[in-house]
C-alpha cells in the first residue's frame, strides 16, 4: 500500500474542517422535537383523559396499568360474546378466514403516528384462559406466545395471541 504523505494529513484536516462547518447548523427536524415532547406529555399524564388522578408512584402506576389491561380484556371478551349472540340472530356467518393470530384491543386506542413497542411474552394457556382468552394451542401446549403492544406511555394498547 502506498505510504501516507504529509499532504494527505493536511487534506484530511481541511476536509474535517469543512465537514464540521457543513454540519454546524444541522439539527433534528422540528417534528422530532414535537414527537419527543408529545411522548413526555403522554408519559406524564397518561390518565388525564380517563379522569384518574396522576401519581408518580410506579407501583400504583403498575397496578393501574394491570387493572386497565384486565378490564380491557374482559370488555373485549364481553363484546366478542355479545357480537356472536347478535350474529346468531341475523345471518349465518361466512366461513372464517384462516388466521394465525387474534388481536384484542385494550386500553386507549393507538394514536396516529404513535411509536408502539411489541413485547413478546410466553404465558401458560391456563393463565390465558383465566383472562377469558382461549388459544387453539390448547392445554397441551406448555406456553403460548403473546405479543403485548405497548404505547409510548408504557400502557398496553393491545394484545395479540398466537392461535
Amino acid at each position: 500500500m502506498k505510504p501516507l504523505e504529509a499532504s494527505d494529513d493536511e487534506k484530511l484536516t481541511d476536509l474535517f474542517e469543512r465537514l464540521r462547518e457543513d454540519e454546524a447548523e444541522v439539527e433534528a427536524p422540528a417534528h422530532v422535537r414535537s414527537a419527543v415532547l408529545a411522548a413526555w406529555d403522554a408519559r406524564r399524564d397518561p390518565y388525564v383523559v380517563s379522569g384518574l388522578s396522576r401519581t408518580d408512584n410506579n407501583k400504583t402506576g403498575f397496578w393501574r396499568g394491570a387493572a386497565a389491561l384486565a378490564a380491557g380484556v374482559v370488555l373485549a371478551v364481553a363484546l366478542t360474546r355479545l357480537g356472536g349472540e347478535l350474529q346468531m340472530g341475523i345471518a349465518p356467518p361466512a366461513a372464517p378466514q384462516a388466521s394465525s393470530a387474534t388481536l384484542h384491543l385494550v386500553g386507549e386506542p393507538i394514536a396516529e403516528g404513535e411509536a408502539v413497542r411489541v413485547v413478546r411474552v410466553s404465558m401458560a394457556p391456563a393463565m390465558l384462559a383465566s383472562l377469558g382468552i382461549r388459544s387453539t394451542a390448547g392445554d397441551l401446549a406448555e406456553s403460548v406466545d403473546v405479543d403485548v403492544i405497548v404505547g409510548e406511555d408504557g400502557v398496553a394498547r393491545a394484545i395479540r395471541v398466537g392461535m
Binding site: 484530511l12 476536509l15 465537514l19 439539527e27 422535537r33 419527543v36 408529545a38 411522548a39 406529555d41 411509536a115
Partner: protein
Amino acid sequence: MPDLVNPLAADTVAQDSDQELMRQTAAGDRNAFAALYQRHSPSVYRFARLMTGSGTAAEDVVQEVFMVVMRDASRFDSGRASLSSYLYGIARHHTRRRLLRQRRFVTLEAGDPLHDATTDTDPATDAVRASELRRLRRAIVGLPSRYREVLVLCDLQDVSYADAASTLGCALGTIRSRLHRARELLKTKMRRAEQSTSVQRSIRCAV
C-alpha cells in the same frame, strides 16, 4: 396536547446547568426537559447522522435517546460522566443496535440538501467541494464502527479524548490508537475513491 413550552420559564431553565436540568426533569419539569432537548439534541443528531449516514435513522436515535432521558433522568450521576458523554453513550448504543439489525451500513441518502450545502458562490468550486464532502461522508460511514465512533466524536464533534473514553468505556490510550488507525483508514479510503474517480474520468475521455 399542544407543543407549548412556557417561554418565561424556558428562559430561566436555559441558564441552568445540565445537572440541574436533569434533576428538574426527574422531578417532572417539562420546561427543563425541553431545555435539555434544545441544548443537546443537535449534537446527538449529528453524531447519529454521521454514524449511520442517514437522517431518518438519526431522527429515530434522537427520539430513543430522549425517551431514555425522560425515563431515567433520576439515575443520571454527574459524578461519573458529563451529560454529553451520557447522551453520546445512549446514542451510540442505539446506533449500534440499529446497524446490527440492518446487518449492513446504511447508504447515504440522496437528495438531502444538507449533504451538499456549500457557501461558495462559484458553481464549479461548489461542485468539487460538495463532491469531496460526499466522498468523505461515504468513507466515514464505511469505517468499522469502533474506529468510526472515535473519529466522529473526537475529530468531528470536538469531544475531548477523556470524554470519548468515558462515552465508549475504554482507556485513553485506546482512544488515541483507534483515532490514529481511523485516520489512516480514512486516508486510504479517500485516496482509493479519488483514484477510482480519476479512472472513471479517463475512461469517459477515452470513449
